[in-house]
């Protein structure tokens, strides 16, 4: 699995609460049987003026000038600044795949939806939860300063702002460990194969109908 250690990147602000997974990647792109190639359709309905089709070349599509990500100053951003309940909606892992394929390595928001949160960890994307006030001030700072970057260090759990000031963030120890080491979690679970088999035997004797 992909690792996350540090990221020094441009920040793109997406000032919108409850960004859902249909907004992140509309359903017509979920017909793909691959894990890659979703970046060009990230935020498709907001980003382009026309309706996107699967397997379409997006280079000639009309861009929506009102979409923040289309402003040249945010080109190449790898850190997304967002609002509360980011990633709500469906369980589609295509959402983190699209963020990753576009180049986002980290999303900062006051809160995230549960399933989306797990899906990001599985794809080496760091989600940072900061309180609403801090996120508010980041939104203000980013829009005031073109080229606004953050330096993120997961091991140290810090964000360094352009003026050198440092913000700390919390991360669950298990998620941190997995991200820092890019661990294969199936392999990790299979280290417990004996315990799983033991459980299964006991479970079967308690509830044999589940194994009929």
């Amino acid at each position: 699995m992909k690792k996350f250690t540090t990221e020094d990147g441009l920040v793109m602000p997406l000032d919108r609460a409850n960004v859902d997974t249909d907004y992140i990647i509309p359903k017509q792109f979920l017909k793909s049987i691959k894990r890659t190639g979703f970046g060009k359709n990230l935020f498709d309905e907001a980003r382009y003026l026309d309706k996107g089709l699967p397997d379409q070349d997006c280079s000639g599509r009309p861009l929506n000038p009102d979409f923040v990500g289309n402003q040249p100053r945010y080109r190449g951003a790898s850190i997304l600044l967002a609002r509360e309940n980011f990633g709500c909606g469906s369980s589609r892992e295509h959402a983190p795949w699209a963020l990753d394929d576009y180049g986002f390595r980290c999303v900062i928001a006051p809160s995230f939806a549960d399933i989306f949160f797990n899906n990001c960890v599985k794809n080496g994307i760091l989600l940072i939860v900061l309180d609403e006030k801090t996120v508010d001030s980041l939104f203000r700072e980013v829009s005031a300063l073109p080229g606004y970057r953050l330096q993120i260090d997961l091991a140290a759990q810090t964000l360094v702002k352009p003026d050198g000031s440092v913000l700390r963030f919390d991360v669950e120890a298990s998620r941190k460990h997995i991200l820092l080491n890019g661990l294969d979690d199936i392999g990790l679970t299979l280290q417990h194969a004996e315990a799983i088999r033991d459980f299964e035997r006991a479970h079967q004797s308690r509830a044999p109908w589940l194994f009929a």
């Binding site: 000032d15 919108r16 609460a17 409850n18 859902d20 249909d22 907004y23 509309p26 359903k27 017509q28 979920l30 017909k31 793909s32 049987i33 691959k34 894990r35 309905e45 309706k51 699967p54 397997d55 609002r83 509360e84 309940n85 709500c88 909606g89 469906s90 369980s91 589609r92 892992e93 983190p96 809160s111 939806a113 549960d114 399933i115 797990n118 899906n119 599985k122 794809n123 609403e132 669950e172 120890a173 298990s174 460990h177 979690d185 199936i186 679970t189 299979l190 417990h192 194969a193 315990a195 799983i196 459980f199 299964e200 479970h203 308690r206 509830a207 044999p208 109908w209 589940l210 009929a212």
Partner: protein
């Protein structure tokens, strides 16, 4: 020591081991698969040279992407016109064959939306842990199973290990007291709950739905409620087992038989929260206060009573919400203060894993019986949740009632709930929909969704705009 909640019991009975850092390995009894979130998981297994841990604990069906017209469906997979969809459905067929997983393929008469067919077949049983690469897996909680959606990496993880790494959620009880007024349904109950606690209100919780109103609901109605637990932010919704649960399951094809049935039933009867269990959060609603609901915005929490109006963003509970309301009104093309009943509609969709079971179709048919779809409605679709629901409805003559009223009667699938197939809204169109999400573009690029109950959707089809179902006489 205080008692245990139903969720605590289900968690403890599936705990394989606690891992470091507060996560646990939870055993999964049943894993549903569909065509959209599984191909990359199967590919992952192949690349790592892994096989399913217990193939018989899996069951698959293609639902998200399948066409619903009889002409396309009569030729099975090969009949799917959209080549990209056809490949995805074929991939599921091939993967299930390769890995020895039972599939209800597109031309099987038992085929349907995964969350409809699981309970219908008696695959879903109380006390199980159930996952699926689909957020509406919460539906199965209506039968007292711990069920939630997972992403594709987790699909692969469950296939390979029969386990999931989980962090225990907190317990929330949503209690709906008293009784419902005539015309008010399970859908209105869950929309009212989401309107009250918000789309993030249940984040981090497993919600148990209780109180007299929930007890009085049929199993189908409880499924409608649990289905939308995810729209309230909770990955799983639960209803305690009672006699209705057990009689619902009796005789279903995959339900246990004979001595095992007796043994299972006596275990299932323990699947309730203890009287002295402590919940981390409790929310109460009065059933009598709930009025038929209509969503006006682009989030399921943006609901109003059918007797109400589109709210003024100035009245939003917070500054941030004000912005959301403004964005939503712009997208929906609605002005603040517009009475809900004067919103003009273009299409109607009756279906989805929220409301496509037989009870839903009966409720809709009762409204349209002897009436005609309004001339201003371009299309009114009825999409049963499964082949068996379709057959049952046809045996009751519901298809005839729908057709005579001018609604289209389709083959089962997700259809216009997420519009991955040809059933889509055009930009700007308003749709009365019995589905669960009104996100921007959900039912088609630029489409505008209003979430309602089946009876409300049917009435909207007949009148061309929303009406209070309580005022509509059944002919």
């Amino acid at each position: 020591m205080s008692g245990k909640t139903l969720y605590d019991k289900l968690w403890e009975s599936h705990l394989v081991t606690d891992l470091d850092n507060g996560t646990s390995l939870i055993y999964i009894d049943l894993h549903f698969l569909h065509e959209v979130t599984s191909p990359q998981a199967f590919e992952g297994l192949r690349l790592a040279g892994r096989r399913p841990w217990r193939a018989s604990a899996n069951m698959a069906t293609p639902d998200h992407n399948v066409p619903t017209t009889t002409s396309e469906r009569s030729r099975g997979v090969e009949g799917i016109l959209d080549p990209v969809s056809r490949i995805q459905v074929k991939f599921l067929d091939d993967n299930c064959k390769d890995f020895g997983i039972e599939e209800f393929a597109i031309d099987d008469h038992r085929h349907g939306i995964v969350h409809v067919i699981g309970p219908e077949q008696g695959r879903t049983l109380p006390g199980m842990t159930i996952v699926c690469g689909d957020s509406h897996t919460s539906t199965h909680g209506a039968l007292g199973a711990l069920a939630h959606g997972i992403g594709t990496s987790e699909v692969e993880h469950v296939l390979a290990t029969q386990c999931l790494v989980q962090r225990k959620a907190r317990n929330m009880l949503v209690k709906v007291n008293g009784s419902l007024r005539p015309g008010v349904t399970a859908k209105d109950v869950i929309l009212a709950i989401i309107g009250k606690i918000g789309t993030a209100g249940g984040t981090g919780y497993t919600i148990e739905f209780g109180g007299e109103v929930i007890k009085s609901l049929s199993i189908e109605g409880r499924m409608t409620v649990c289905n939308m637990a995810i729209e309230a932010g909770a990955r799983a919704g639960l209803v305690a087992v009672d006699d209705k649960t057990i009689s619902y399951l009796a005789g279903r094809p995959f339900a246990p038989k004979g001595a095992q049935w007796e043994q299972a039933v006596s275990y299932w009867q323990t699947l309730t929260s203890d009287a002295d269990a402590i919940f981390d959060a409790v929310v109460e609603l009065e059933g009598a206060d709930i009025v038929p609901q209509v969503s006006w915005g682009t989030s399921p929490e943006m609901v109003a009573p059918v007797t109400g109006a589109v709210p003024d963003p100035q009245s939003a509970p917070s500054e941030a919400k004000r912005g959301n309301y403004q964005q939503a009104l712009k997208y929906m093309g609605l002005a603040a203060g517009t009475p809900i009943q004067s919103i003009k509609l273009d299409r109607v969709f009756i279906g989805s894993c929220t409301n496509s079971r037989i009870e839903d179709l009966r409720a809709a048919a009762a409204v349209v019986k002897g009436r005609r779809v309004a001339g201003s409605i371009k299309q009114a679709l009825v999409v049963p949740g499964s082949g068996l629901v379709k057959a049952q409805a046809e045996s009751e003559g519901l298809d005839k009632i729908f057709r005579e009223a001018g609604l289209e009667w389709r083959e089962p699938g997700c259809s216009m709930c997420l519009a991955m197939n040809a059933d889509q809204l055009e930009p700007g169109e308003h749709c009365a929909s019995t589905s669960n999400r009104n996100f921007e573009g959900r039912q088609g690029f630029g489409g505008r969704t209003h979430l309602v109950s089946p009876a409300m959707a049917a009435a909207a089809a007949v009148f061309g705009h929303f009406v209070d179902i309580r005022d509509v006489q059944m002919l």
